[in-house]
């Protein structure tokens, strides 16, 4: 059973307000139909095809929708909708729809799932030609939300570039939308994506265990007001060995770096994400007593702050570093091309 997310409630309101009752209702009906088909038929069955993955079903999609809402709104009631108002009703329609579809390719296997959305899309929309614009947008959004370009680069959003993506004659801010989708998806991590029971009873395959464990300790928080993403890790050390603790910590550090990179990457393309200037991290180490369900906090590490601040002169970047990054700046090469004696 689906609980309507805040962004969906806002979508319904804004579609009717800006497009008029008739068109607004039609678009929202299309959205609900797609959601119904995916939530009932497709998303819950990803587990059958890929049983070891962390959750990619309806709960995950709801989580990504929730994250998108928090990325675009403020907690402070006096300016709550300031950022989201800059999107048109159709922008938000495409955003919500992209979120619904972004992971459906997993039903046909995890590998390159971002490029396997078309089948499912056609199933949901019955191949009707009126959805051609929408199909192009949704499949493109799903394609670039992860993975690599055809040329093998990770800069998938570059593919969208300055290309015009219309929907019913109106321009859609696809680049902004996919930036939000990517970041909201990266932030959709946490205990809700895994199962405590399966972890405790060793029913998760060894190769997936680390991902599930990571999900169980991760608690992200989106704070647009303070311009930060907070990652809180609560680690129960009761049954951990030195090796297992080292393993999970190392993996966590990698994921922190990845998330921070996603933050910078997404906001590079999606200007609405500009306020998110830093990633903050805290580790809380607990001893959890299963008999009386109590937690004893052993100690905490925090706040670790990764931010965008660059202090001139601090990084000691030399000219040679610039040249090694951009080979065209090689001085000898320039001089030889200029034929100067």
């Amino acid at each position: 059973m689906w609980n309507d997310q805040e962004i969906e409630k806002y979508l319904e309101k804004i579609l009717k307000k800006r497009l008029g009752q008739y068109d607004g209702n039609n678009y929202f009906a299309d959205y609900i139909k797609a959601r119904h088909d995916l939530v009932e038929d497709v998303l819950p069955n990803i587990k059958i095809t890929e049983p070891s993955l962390t959750d990619h079903g309806p709960f995950h999609v709801a989580n990504v929708l929730k994250n998108a809402w928090y990325l675009l709104t403020y907690h402070d009631a006096s300016k709550k909708l300031e950022a989201i108002k800059k999107f048109t009703a159709l922008d938000l329609y495409v955003l919500c729809l992209s979120i619904l579809f972004h992971d459906v390719g997993n039903i046909n296997g995890r590998a390159n799932h971002n490029r396997k959305v078309l089948d499912v899309y056609n199933y949901v929309r019955n191949n009707k030609s009126k959805y051609l614009d929408e199909k192009r947008l949704i499949t493109k959004a799903a394609e670039v939300h992860c993975g690599k370009t055809n040329a093998g680069s990770s800069d998938t959003l570059l593919d969208i570039g300055n290309e015009l993506y219309p929907l019913s004659g109106d321009p859609i801010k696809l680049l902004e939308i996919v930036g939000i989708l990517r970041f909201a998806d990266e932030l959709a991590e946490g205990p809700q994506r895994t199962s405590d029971y399966l972890l405790k009873t060793d029913k998760i395959t060894p190769e997936s265990e680390l991902y599930h464990k990571y999900a169980s300790i991760t608690h992200p928080f989106i704070d647009r007001d303070a311009g930060r993403i907070v990652l809180r890790y609560d680690i129960n050390v009761k049954n951990e060995t030195i090796d297992s603790l080292k393993e999970i910590l190392l993996y966590t550090y990698k994921r922190i770096i990845k998330l921070d990179e996603e933050r910078k990457y997404s906001k590079f393309y999606s200007k609405c994400l500009a306020p998110f200037m830093q990633t903050e991290v805290t580790f809380n180490f607990y001893n959890y007593n299963e008999e009386n369900l109590s937690e004893e906090l052993l100690f905490s590490i925090g706040r670790i702050i990764l931010d965008d601040k660059c202090i001139p002169g601090d990084k000691q970047t030399e000219a040679v570093d610039l040249i090694s990054k951009f080979s065209a700046l090689d001085i000898d090469s320039i001089i030889s091309q200029l034929n100067i004696n």
Partner: protein, 581 residues
């Protein structure tokens, strides 16, 4: 006869001298570890649970005295500054201003002055510091003048000058704002970043403080106004805590919200960590029981009873001990009949649940003449409900009564005295509930006082019924409230009453994980001192009753008995004191 000293003299922690804090405090490594860390900490617990003592013990002045006592060097690595109820902190002048922004900066100004005063006051007393800054006082004063933007009177050492300056500034601000014929605003307001941060950096330029971390320990945060709370939260959110961190003590009820001045939020587990100071107190192995023993033992040392254990000073009635054992034997036979496979755990659980229940049940049935004796250290710990002040208070009155009866030194408190005091205090608490809530508790109307009185009377009737006949958890005297989502309005009405009850300290809460779904739940425990005058068992058992919000509201509003779920019980209209009138 010795000069009278009552070792359980229970002054509020703020009124104790540094020496008395050192004398009375039982060090707890858990709290010290967190208080002395660089993390922002919220110490949470109801009044009397030991928050102020924990902060004061970790303050610079007290730890200096401790170091001298132990013959050690003063540790300058952490400098604890206790900030509590100073006259500057609670200034109300901001209320004279209409503009919200001006109110906010005025409140921050007074908060900054309070903190500066406390820092200066703490550091100006230590002679080691005086010696260290003798050479540097001029430089420090010059630098501080530059920071503030005006001249200081340089008659004394640096910290004394700063202390005097803050008082002077507070007065000037007060005078400016108070002038009824003027709309002028005080222009030299100070903020955390413009004053406290540079002040602490300046102190750290003194050699002995080079590596110091300042612990700004703010007490009774629940008494701060809304602007101060937002300001404090903004400071907690401040990213750089290398030089200072905040330790904030607050009650659970009226705990400040987490909103900052800019509308953001501070996050538990990230921007700060909460430490619940109310320990489990259910049995002699619990943390609170162990702490209570240590506290009493330390207090007894003040009157020369150096090797006396708490259980010996407050002995149990021998008949009580004998009768409980007899009940255990009786119930053991029942258990052995029931669990013929000899499962020891099941038999022991059975005895735990039903032995004491049988004891109290038998006495309830026999009526007033057979009230159980309320004595013994275990009993005193039980009626304290896990709150240190509630532990010390009856001990004080018991010792006082024992002293008035004797000409010789007291080596233990007679059971009759213990029983008398506990029953007296229990009755006083009931009088407070039935007659005094609205006149004593802020924001409690007469109607609410009546509702709370009816609610508590009906709760006790429920617990008595359970004790008499409940099949599985007869001694459960802790409850949770259900129907939070299905009967939201009723739930909120009940919650309001329960919050007033908590403020009045006739109800306490614990947060624990539900065994059903693992989610955090609030467990409500009535003040256990309410039970003795009704002949009920204040010890209870490790279980809780789930009560519906609608039933609790009916009990409060209409004085309707709370339905009792056992099939054989019929709900009767009865009064609480049926057996004892």
């Amino acid at each position: 006869m010795n000069n009278y000293i009552n070792p359980f003299e229970g002054e509020r922690a703020n009124a104790l001298s540094d020496d008395e804090v050192l004398q009375f405090y039982i060090e707890d490594n858990t709290y010290a570890r967190f208080i002395r860390s660089k993390r922002n900490i919220f110490l949470v617990g109801e009044r009397g649970c030991g928050k102020t003592m924990a902060l004061r013990y970790n303050s610079f002045g007290v730890l200096c005295k401790k170091a001298k006592q132990d013959g050690q060097d003063i540790d300058f690595s952490t400098i604890g500054i206790h900030i509590s109820g100073s006259s500057i902190l609670h200034k109300q002048e901001y209320l004279l201003l209409v503009d919200d922004f001006r109110r906010s900066i005025t409140c921050e100004h007074f908060l900054v002055l309070s903190i500066m005063w406390e820092i200066a006051n703490s550091l100006c007393k230590a002679t080691e510091i005086q010696d260290a800054i003798k050479q540097e006082s001029d430089r420090l004063l010059q630098d501080f003048e530059y920071i503030l933007g005006f001249e200081l009177k340089k008659e004394y050492d640096f910290f004394t000058v700063v202390r005097n300056f803050t008082l002077h500034e507070a007065r000037l601000t007060q005078n400016k704002i108070n002038r009824y014929d003027s709309d002028e605003f005080y222009d030299n307001t100070m903020s955390f970043s413009s004053t406290i941060i540079p002040f602490i950096e300046l102190i750290k330029s003194i050699s002995i403080f080079n590596n110091s971390h300042f612990l700004l320990m703010i007490d009774d945060a629940q008494t701060m106004n809304e602007y101060q709370i937002k300001i404090l939260n903004s400071w907690i959110a401040y990213r750089d805590h290398a030089n200072l961190s905040f330790k904030v003590a607050t009650t659970k009820v009226d705990r400040p919200k987490f909103i900052t001045s800019t509308g953001g939020t501070i996050l538990e587990g990230h921007d700060f960590t909460s430490i619940d100071m109310e320990k489990p107190f259910q049995n002699p192995d619990s943390d609170f029981y162990i702490l209570a023993k240590k506290i009493v033992k330390k207090r007894l040392e003040l009157i020369g009873l150096n090797n006396t254990e708490a259980e010996d000073f407050f002995p149990e009635h021998p008949n009580f001990t004998k009768d409980i054992e007899a009940c255990k034997d009786f119930v053991r036979e029942e258990a052995e009949d029931k669990y013929t496979d000899g499962a020891n755990k099941k038999i022991n659980d059975y005895i735990y649940k039903y032995a004491r229940a049988k004891y109290y049940r038998d006495r309830l049935e026999k009526g007033k003449a057979n009230m159980p004796p309320y004595c013994g250290f275990k009993m005193i710990v039980a009626v304290s409900t896990g709150i240190i002040r509630n532990l010390l208070e009856p001990c004080f009155f018991m010792f006082d009564l024992a002293s008035s009866n004797k000409d010789i030194d007291i080596e233990k408190i007679d059971c009759s005295i213990q029983n008398q005091i506990i029953i007296e205090k229990s009755k006083e608490l009931w009088t407070f509930i039935n007659e005094g809530l609205d006149s004593s508790v802020e924001n409690c109307s007469r109607e609410q006082a009546k509702q709370i009185s009816q609610l508590f009377n009906n709760l006790m009737i429920l617990f008595r019924n359970r004790l008499k006949s409940h099949k599985s958890e007869p001694r459960a005297i802790t409850f949770t409230v259900s129907q939070k989502t299905t009967h939201e309005k009723t739930y909120n009405q009940v919650k309001k009453l329960l919050d007033i009850a908590r403020k009045s300290q006739i109800l306490y809460t614990r947060t624990s994980r539900s065994k059903d779904d693992g989610k955090l739940e609030t467990y409500y425990t009535p003040n256990r001192l309410l039970f003795p005058s009704l002949g009920l068992d204040p010890e209870g058992q490790h279980a809780r009753a789930s009560l519906k919000a609608s039933d609790l509201w009916n009990a409060a509003e209409r004085n309707t008995p709370i339905p009792y779920g056992d099939d054989n019980e019929t709900v009767k209209q009865q009064t609480l004191f049926d057996n004892y009138e």
